[in-house]
Amino acid sequence: MKFDHFGIGIAKGMAVTLKNLFRRPVTVQYPEQRLNTSRRIRGNELVWSKEKCTGCATCAKACPQGVINIETSANPDNNKYEVKKYEVDTGYCIFCALCVEACPFNALYMGYDYERARYRRGELVQSRDMMTETPEKHVSGYFFPDRAASLPLQTLLVEKITEEE
């Protein structure tokens, strides 16, 4: 150790920390304070549209984890597939949203909610009925810009903490 700067370097550092003492803290007190998440958030669930889905299973092919489970049966009346089972194990899902991008019929969305902690792994499996869009279950704007436009703007730290000249 050599005091080349006679301790001026240390003093400069001390000035920085003192300056920060009088700055506003940047942390968010989470359960009470919530920031708006990104409009394109890939929340911890998938939202599925029963009407649009044709049971083509492109999403299952696109899924790198193989967690989308589809069972279809042919309906001879209208010559279409009928989705008997549509299940996503969100415990194994990595929320890469490749399925959402792959879906040719726009029947699959990422969810907007992110607080989906459960006590048991089994409860993380989303079945068909749990996946439909409801007023409580919002759809994220990921891959759907028209959906994104209706969501609140993301809170940005860049805008919150600005340094005046």
């Binding site: 150790m1 050599k2 301790g7 003192l18 920060n20 700055r23 803290p25």
Partner: protein
């Protein structure tokens, strides 16, 4: 033998103090209780101040859940830590492991026996007060070394060895710098030193203050000298293997030592309990917090130094400076005892600046890499 100051004759130890009901025993009891309350309250306040201050300096809030502004956080911490399981390593030296926190804790508490809360209000106005502090404060090291040895953990041992090395080295400059104060005050008694400070001695002894602060920080292992519990290197140092109540004791030691050092610096250099308007004990507390804030501030800013740099700083930088400071102070006290304070302030600050710049030029740390 009666000492006379401020026109009041103070009787010696055996009769002191006469105005206490029941005599010496009551005095002893009352002050023990006061010291315990003082130490425990302030230690809790310190942990809170440190964590909040550190938090704010790091652009965050710090603990804010328990009570308003997180003021009950130390209580919550204490409850949590007391309820935790006490794990003792199977190959540890059980008695040493058990005793270590106790041995480490009591010296920190004992120091307060000689810290005056106001004129004459102290447990024991020892004539050798400051010597007593110096002697007692090093005993904590024994406890810490016991912890390092008894834990049967290599990280603990490394931390304990570092601590012993640091304390042995830094005792020198610390004592030498304190002697400068003693020379000016003309007494070893803490109470007398305070009484002698018509102006705070930090103005007359700027270099001494710096040395005592740095050496004190090194002795109690505050950052940047927190090598013995360097979390990025040796996990938690000597208390790696401690949990629950015993860990709480070590945590307490850490802050009680910080409190003791703050109190000593406040007493020696900042005029102790003296100050206008406010009651004396409050002045002491304010000064203690001022010194502690300085410690929190350095802890936020500075990285940790290495063990050989720690040694070099003690022996090559602080030790010579303390010696020179002592010589200059002695000269001043002998040659110009009646010099005007403000001339001495200017002269001493100039000397301090010159010495620091000069020694910064001379000071160099040798070995880094060792050929093996």
């Amino acid at each position: 033998m009666n000492i006379v100051y401020h026109g009041i004759a103070v009787p010696d130890m055996k009769q002191l103090p006469p105005d206490w009901p029941g005599g010496f025993f009551w005095h002893w009891l009352v002050f023990t209780v006061i010291i315990f309350t003082f130490v425990f309250t302030l230690v809790m306040a310190f942990t809170w101040v440190e964590r909040r201050g550190l938090g704010r300096m790091q652009s965050r809030l710090g603990p804010n859940r328990a009570g308003p502004f997180g003021i009950l956080q130390p209580v919550a911490d204490a409850i949590k830590v007391l309820l935790k399981e006490d794990i003792v390593p199977s190959r540890s030296d059980r008695i040493v492991h058990w005793l270590a926190p106790v041995v480490a804790f009591f010296p920190a508490l004992l120091i307060f026996a000689v810290v005056p809360f106001q004129n004459g209000a102290l447990l024991a106005d020892l004539d050798i007060g400051i010597l007593y502090v110096v002697a007692i404060s090093s005993v904590s090291t024994v406890g810490i070394f016991m912890a390092g040895w008894g834990s049967s953990n290599k990280f603990s041992l490394l931390g304990a060895m570092r601590n012993v090395a640091a304390v042995v080295s830094y005792e020198m400059p610390l004592v030498l710098a304190v002697i400068g104060v003693v020379l000016i005050a003309g007494s070893l008694s803490m109470n007398q030193i305070v009484l002698a400070q018509d102006i705070p001695l930090i103005l007359l002894q700027p270099l001494g203050f710096l040395i005592v602060f740095i050496a004190g920080c090194a002795e109690i292992n505050r950052s940047p000298f927190d090598l013995m519990e360097a979390d990025s290197e040796i996990v938690a140092g000597f208390h790696t293997e401690y949990s629950g109540m015993k860990f709480a004791m070590f945590y307490l030691v850490e802050y009680a030592e910080a409190l003791a050092l703050s109190a000593i610096i406040a007493t020696l250099f900042l005029g102790g309990w003296r100050g206008p308007v406010l009651p004396p004990w409050l002045w002491l507390v304010i000064k203690v917090f001022a010194v502690f804030f300085l410690m929190v501030w350095t802890r936020t800013t500075l990285p940790r130094i290495r063990i050989d740099q720690l040694m070099a700083l003690a022996w090559k930088f602080l030790f010579p400076l303390a010696l020179i400071n002592l010589a200059i102070t002695g000269l001043q006290v002998v040659a110009w005892p009646d010099a005007l304070p403000w001339t001495m302030i200017i002269v001493n600050f100039a000397i301090a600046a010159v010495l620091i710049v000069l020694w910064s030029r001379l000071f160099k740390v040798g070995w880094g890499r060792v050929e093996v």
